[in-house]
């Protein structure tokens, strides 16, 4: 009887033991599936045009992004996970950009590609990133057509061309018209751009907005980006006698345009340019007097932005990077350097830490999920504007709804932010001097 009781107890013990083992197995296996091991590193590829026609400003943008990645690494990476940086050169060519992206994905196994400076290149890189389930973190290209397909792996920190148009309209209606003594609707406005993806998207956005708002566009000219002579363009613009010209060129044609304008004695009360108009080469070519009063619309040039509105930590870091960039490159950290810094800052201080915290992963889905929760207020990034991305259910996917463009002006040889006033370091003036007065 006693033996029988012992046998029964032994059987019960075995059953309990078996249940315990099964329960343990169930608790161990699901927990390992839910929380993968912490990544050893995050692999980020910098893909910019560092040779070819866009090399000048593409290198600036790449350098800005690189500085922030290195700073993050020096400060513990992404919550202890180091960043491994890889470099690619799109050679200022869309097809080369797509090939370089594929190479970085295949050989370097990058999780994220930061690019691209040029809209045409970004447009070619994006399908490659999507096909391979890699994120394209866009800090420079502004054409809305870059993600016209609505790819989910696209995230852009810089504003699209419509932000340029919005800043232009705001500036014309609230400042320029008054300063030039006319109603905004009476101003004669000319718009000119080359036929590259960036310039065309900005020129079209400005034209569409101005026409929709009832402003008087007296000329809309498009010229080839490879043009070796801009005399025809300047002659046609001169014949249209505009008060204000909105010009979107690339770097080399910026200088050629201004030289030709001088030769043909083409004067406007205000020129609002972009791209090379805000570059260091512009003032180097014409001197402070030669460029005095010319406006530039873009994301803010960090070296000449009022940082008092930034959060103190962001302002301190911005000052550090501006100094570091100037020492390394020999010219101030202007617009494109700022794009690289601003966009990458959001990635390494906001999106990636949250992805690691919530998903313990840097997979595309983890990054997209983390980016959907990004909500940085104005003053929270080096460029001054906040960050909040449109989601995959939106008409435009991965766009920063808080991105802004600002108006800058060449004053005494420096490009100063003059509009809006909360970011301004100087007061705008108009009209600018004619060629005879320079």
């Amino acid at each position: 009887m006693l033996r029988k009781v012992i046998t029964v107890k032994s059987k019960v013990s075995r059953i309990f033991a078996l249940i315990a083992v099964i329960a343990l197995a169930f608790t161990v296996v699901p927990s390992s599936m839910a929380a993968p091991a912490k990544p050893k590193e995050v692999r980020i590829g910098l893909l910019f045009p560092t040779t070819g026609a866009f090399a000048l400003l593409g290198t600036d943008q790449m350098t800005g992004a690189e500085m922030v990645l290195k700073w993050a690494n020096a400060n513990g990476g992404i919550n202890g996970v180091p960043i491994k940086i890889f470099y690619g050169d799109s050679k200022s060519n869309a097809a080369e950009g797509a090939t370089a992206a594929q190479r970085m994905i295949d050989n370097d196994k990058v999780d994220i590609i930061i690019g691209s400076y040029s809209s045409g290149i970004a447009q070619a890189v994006m399908p490659v990133a999507q096909r391979n389930n890699v994120i394209l973190w866009e800090v420079g290209a502004v054409s809305p057509t870059v993600n016209s397909q609505g790819y989910s792996n696209f995230l852009r920190t810089v504003g699209v061309s419509k932000t340029y148009a919005a800043a232009d309209y705001d500036f014309v209606t609230k400042f320029l018209a008054k300063k030039l003594g006319k109603k905004a609707t009476d101003l004669r406005i000319a718009i000119a751009n080359n036929n590259g993806a960036f310039a065309a998207s900005v020129g079209d956005a400005v034209n569409d907005l101005f026409v929709a708002k009832g402003l008087k566009v007296v000329a809309k000219e498009v010229y080839p980006s490879t043009s070796t002579d801009l005399t025809p363009l300047v002659l046609k613009l001169k014949a249209a006698t505009p008060d204000v010209l909105f010009l979107t060129p690339d770097a080399p044609d910026s200088l050629l345009f201004w030289k030709t304008a001088k030769t043909q004695d083409f004067n406007v009360s205000a020129l609002v340019g972009s791209s090379g108009i805000g570059g260091a080469g512009f003032v180097a070519a014409f001197g402070a007097t030669g460029v005095e009063g010319v406006y530039d619309v873009e994301a803010p040039a960090l070296a000449s932005m009022n940082t008092s509105g930034l959060k103190s930590r962001v302002a301190d870091l911005t000052a550090q990077w501006v100094k570091e960039f100037g020492a390394a490159m020999g010219h101030p950290c202007a617009v494109h350097c700022g794009d690289g810094i601003g966009g990458t800052y959001t990635l390494v201080t906001d999106v990636l830490p949250r992805a690691l915290r919530t998903s313990n992963s840097f997979s595309a889905s983890a990054i997209i999920s983390s980016a959907s929760k990004t909500n940085i207020q104005d003053g929270g990034t080096p460029q001054g504007f906040g960050v909040q991305f449109t989601g995959t259910n939106s008409a435009t996917v991965g766009e920063n709804t808080k991105a802004k463009s600002v108006i800058m002006q060449w004053q005494s040889g420096a490009l100063k932010v003059v509009w809006p006033s909360n970011l301004a370091t100087s007061t705008p003036f108009a009209p600018m001097k004619t060629w005879d007065q320079r």
């Binding site: 070796t228 002579d229 046609k236 770097a251 260091a280 080469g281």
Partner: protein, 291 residues
């Protein structure tokens, strides 16, 4: 003459002068050596950087760099012909095409490595001067470029038609085997023709720098257009290339003003295709040929 038409015409002549210089050099090389030099545009870039370097180093006016840059590029062309081109002469066409293409890529990447992507500007003592007649305006640097191109091209014609070396070059261009039998050192003539073709690019680069600034791709577009110049002018036809260059420059600018600026480069390629289809020997072929 309406000022807009006049200004567009004159600026077209100026740009055409550059096309002529670069195209004539390319055509000379093709006419004599029968090799297409894809490095012509890249050599223009070298000339532009040499001019910039000359100005920065000596603090002299860029136009004074003309003999220096022309000679250096001529020497460079001479060496390229002697050391690289000679090796592929007589081999299949693909090797000949690829070697000059390789030279072009090497030059582009070397200039980028040496000087970086920055755009560098050079001013001359006439940079601020403009001529105006009846509302037609032309910059002094453009006028200087047009004048320089005319003088150099005229000098080239005289050299080819009036000197013994010019006669030897034309003889080699027409029939290299016969020239060899008559005692002409054909390989030396090849090298001299390549040197002259490259020297013409050197002249063009000095004249271009005050107008277009200096950056790694400054010569690329001129190099591409020079192929249209060669086809239009007739392969090997120097005078035809000179006229074709000016013709293209004027057409490009007048088309830009009166028809469409955005299609003003495309129209050149359209002319190129039409010429290849209906008159592949070129439009200006009745004039002096080196072959």
């Amino acid at each position: 003459m309406p000022p807009m038409f006049g200004s567009a015409l004159i600026s077209g002549l100026v740009i055409g002068g550059f096309y002529s210089l670069v195209g004539a050099g390319l055509n000379l090389i093709f006419g004599v050596i029968k090799i297409i030099n894809f490095a012509q545009g890249a050599m223009l870039t070298i000339g532009a950087y040499l001019t910039y370097w000359f100005v920065i180093t000596t603090k002299l006016d860029p136009y004074l760099a003309l003999p220096f840059v022309a000679l250096v590029l001529a020497f460079f062309g001479f060496i390229i012909q002697k050391t690289l081109i000679n090796r592929v002469l007589g081999q299949e066409r693909t090797s000949q095409l690829l070697i000059t293409f390789g030279i072009a890529l090497a030059i582009q990447n070397t200039t980028l490595a040496l000087w970086g992507p920055d755009i560098r500007s050079v001013n001359t003592f006439i940079s601020d001067k403009t001529f105006e007649v009846s509302g037609i305006r032309v910059g002094a640097t453009a006028a200087m470029a047009l004048l320089g191109a005319l003088i150099v091209l005229l000098g080239l014609f005289l050299f080819l038609s009036r000197t013994r070396m010019g006669t030897a070059i034309r003889a080699v261009a027409q029939q290299a085997d016969s020239a060899l039998l008559s005692g002409i050192d054909v390989k030396k003539v090849y090298a001299i023709a390549f040197a002259i073709g490259s020297g013409l690019v050197g002249v063009a680069s000095v004249l271009i720098v005050p107008i277009y600034d200096v950056y790694p791709l400054v010569g690329e577009h001129f190099g591409i257009i020079s192929f249209i110049v060669v086809v239009l002018g007739g392969l090997g036809n120097i005078q035809g290339a000179a006229i074709a260059g000016v013709f293209l420059g004027v057409i490009q600018n007048l088309f830009a003003v009166y028809v469409s600026d955005s299609l003003s480069t495309a129209i050149l390629f359209f002319i190129f295709l039409i010429t290849l289809l209906f008159r592949p020997q070129g439009i200006f072929v009745r004039k002096m040929r080196v072959s």
